[in-house]
Amino acid sequence: MASRLRKEGREKLTGRSQYVDDLRLPGHPEVLHGTTVRSPVARGTLKAVRFGGSIPWKDFVIVTAKDIPAIGGKNAIAHILHDQPCLVDEQINHPEEAIVLLAHPDRFLLEEARRHVTFEIDPLPAVFTIEKSLLKDPVIWGKDNTFKEFTIEKGDVDGVWQTADLIVEGEYHTGAQEQLYIEPNGMIAVANANEGVTVWGSMQCPYYVHHALTHLFALPDDKVRVIQAETGGGFGGKEDYPSMIACHAALLAWKAGKPVKIIYDRAEDLAATTKRHPSSTRHRTAVSRDGKLLAMDIDFLLDGGAYMTISTVVLSRGGIHAAGPYECPNVRIHARALATNSPPYGAFRGFGAPQSLFALERHMDEIAAKVGLAPEELRRRNFLQEGKATATGQIIREKLDLPKLLDSALQSSEFIKKRKAFQEANQDPANPIKRGMGLSTFMHGAGFTGSGEKMLASVAAVEATPAGTVRVLASNTEIGQGQRTVFAQLVADALGIDFDLVEVVQPDTKIVPNSGPTVASRTTMIVGKLVETAAISLRQTLIQSGCLAKTYTTAEFRKACGEYLSKLGALKCFSQYQQPGHIDWDDQKYRGDAYGTFAWAVYVAEVSVDLRTYEAQVDHFTAVQEIGKVVHPVLAAGQIEGGVLQGIGYALSEEVQLRNGRMANNRLTNYIIPTAADAPDIKVIFAENPYPHGPQGAKGIGELPLDGVAPAVLNAVAMALGPEAASRIHSIPLLPESLMKALDGAAESVKGERS
C-alpha cells in the first residue's frame, strides 16, 4: 500500500496552517505584545530596576517577581525540582535570565522600551565550565554543584587492569547544540481570576505547560487550559522552555486584563532557550589481544547550566547508553550532571545519548587501532546478542542481529573497497583532498528511561462521532515528525476503515487525556500502542452492542457508529499504559531493564577533507537501522534523513560560542546549520524485527539518528588524516580551526595515550 499522505499536509503546503504567531483569538480583537527583559550578567544580586528614557511607562504593563505572590502562586517553573524561578527576585544565576516582563499594544515601542530597562546588579563570581564546577569554588547550586550523580556497576572493573593485555584511555568532548527549529518559540495567554489561564502556543508537551501554570498561579487543574498551535519543529527544544514562556505571557495577561502574545525573535530564542548539554567523557578500557572488551571504566560528565530543569533524566539516558551495544563483563559508568552559570541546558533529540555514544564510538576506533583490528572487526567481536546483558544487566530478549546490520551497512556503503582505495590515494602528498570512511554502531532506548513510563501511566482515547468518523484523543503533538498521520493510520488499520475517516484532535488539555509528553521516541511506540488498543476496544464495543457485524465495510462501520450513538449515547474508549511484564528496573541501583526495547543501528560516513581549507565534508552517508516495524515508510525515512543532517551539523559546524556563559553567536549568520548545498546523499535502510509491545511491531525511532552520526563522521575524518592526527580528533564540533590544530599537532591535547 502506498504511504498515507500527511494529514495536515495540504494546510502546510498552502500556508493555511495556524502557528502561534498566525492565530487570531475570536472575541479578543486587542492582543498586547509582550517581551522579556533579561540579565546582562551571569551571576549576581539584583539591587534595583530602572525604567529610563523618554518612554511613556504608564502605558506599559510591567511585571516583576514581586507580582507573583499577589496572585497567590509560587515563583518557580515546576519541572523535576522547583529550583528555577519564573522571574529573578534577587539572585541572578545565568545570563539572559528573565527579570522584568513588559506588554504594550505597539511592538516597536515595546522593543524601544525593553532597551531602556536597566539593572543595578552586584556581580558574583561565576562558573562556566564542567572542570570549574567540579572544584566547587564557588558553589553555585545546592551543596556541591551536582544536580545528580549515579554509578552503574557490572562485574568487577578493578579486578581486570592488572591482567589485561592492553589498556586504552581517551577523553572526549562535545559542545552545546541548538535545536534550531525554524519556528521560534511563542505563546499567547488569556488570564484572569474568573476564567483562569488559557494559553495557545508552540510546544511539544501541553501537560508540562499545564503543570507549570497550575503551580505558578496556584490554580486547580480545570482552571488552566493549554492548547497546542501548529508547531514548526521542536527536536526537544520545545519540551521544557515553553512552560517558561507560557508563565510569562500569562503573568502579563493577568495583570493587563487583556490577552498577551510573546513571540521570540531568533536572537532571543538562541540566547535564552535550552540547548544540548555539553559533555566531557573519559574512557579507560581493558582489552585482550584478540580484541575482546574486558573492562570499561567510563566517567561521564554533563554541563547542566544554572538550574536542574531536566538534566537528571538527560544524565540517566546518557549514562545508560555510555557502554553502547557491546557485551562486556565488567563495566563501571560514573555519571554526573553539574551546575554552571549558563542558561539551563535541556532536551535535544538523543537526550544525553549522542554525547556518551560519541565518546564511546570514537574510542572504539582508537581501541581498534591499538589492538590492530579494523574498526568493524573490533565491534563485531563485542556485539551484544540475544540472551546477553547490557551494562545495566538488561538481558536482550529479542532476535538481535547486529552482525547483519553491520554487513548491510558495509556492503551498501562499499566500505571496505572505498577504504582501501582512499588509503592508497591519501598516500599521494600532492593530493590535497584526503578521503575517509568511518562507522559507528549504536542503539537507542525507546520510551522513558527506567520506570518513567510506569509512573507516567499515560492515557489515550478514541471516540466515534454521529457522522461515523473517529476522533483520536491524545496529548502528543504533531511537530513535523508525523504523529497525526501515524496515529490516524494506526487507528484506521485497527478498525479496518478508511484513513480519511480518522481525525486526530489538536491537543487541548480541556479535551484530550494526558498521554504524556512528545519526547523520548515514545509517541509511536508507547502512545501509538495506546491509541491502537483503544481503537480495538471501540470496535469490540460496537460489535458487542449488536450495531456492527464481525466483518464490515467502512460504510457499515459509519452506520453502526451513528446507530450506537443514537441508541446508547457516547462511544469513547480509553487505554492506559500497562508496563510489559518483562520490564524490571531498579531506580536506586540503575540495574535492570532500562528500556522496554532498543532500536539498533550501524551508520557509515564517507568524508573528504581539504587540507588547504581544513574543511571536512560528508559526501555520502549510509544509515542502517532495525526499528521493529516501519509503520509509515516516507515518514520513517524522513525522520532518519533529518536526524542524519542534524548529526552532521553537530559533528562539523554547529558551535555554540559561549562568552561568560552567554551565547555570543546567537544569529543564523554565525550559528551554522547545514543547507541544501551541504547535505550529502543519505541512504536509509530499514531492517525489521517486530516488537510485540509496539503498535504493528514498531519501536521508537525519532532520536536514534542523532546518536551515531557524529562519531561516524569523525571516525571517517580520522581515517582520512591518519593515526597521528586521529589521536587529536576527540571533540565536536570539528571546525576547520580545530582540524588545523589537530593537523599541526598543536593545542588539542589527548590524555592517556598509552597502550
Partner: protein, 177 residues
Amino acid sequence: MSPSMSAQKITVRCKINGQDRSFTTYPMARLLDLLREDAGLTGTKEGCGEGECGACSVLVGGELVNSCLIPAIQAEGTEITTIEGIAEGEKLNFIQQAFLEYGGAQCGICTPGMVLAVVYLLNRIKKPEDLTEAALRTALAGNLCRCTGYTKIFESVVRACHARFGASAGASSGDQR
C-alpha cells in the same frame, strides 16, 4: 528594521496574488509585516528576520526575495506572489502536490518559502536537463529546513519537474522510490 516612530506613513499600492491592494504603512516597515499583518496573509513565515533562513521568501516582480529584508516602500507598484497564491482554488499546484506525496513537508514552517523557491527555480528552467543536481542544491541553499535533511525535498522537486515536463525529466538526485 523597526520603523522610526517619527516617520510619516505612506500609501503603498501593489498587486498581491493577482489582487490590487493598498496599504498605509511606514516606508521602512518590512514587506513581511505588510503581508502578515496588513494583508492578513500569514502563510509567509518569519524564521530569523535577517535574510538567512528563507522562511519569508516571496516573489516580487517574479524575483525570489526574503520579505524580511524588503522595505514596504519598495513594494509600490509591484506584483507579489505569496504561498496563498500558488494553489488553484482547492487544487494544489503540481509543486505542492509533489511535496505532499513525497514527504517534502514535515513541520511545515519552512514549506511556504521552500515552495516559492521551487516555483522560482522551475519557472527558470527551459528544459528538464537544466535541473541538474548542482542547480537544485544552489536554488534551495537559501531556504533552511531543519526537519528533512533535504532528501525528500529534492525528491519532491524532481517529481514536480517530472509533472511539468513529462516523466523522463529531472535530476536523479534524491529519487529513491
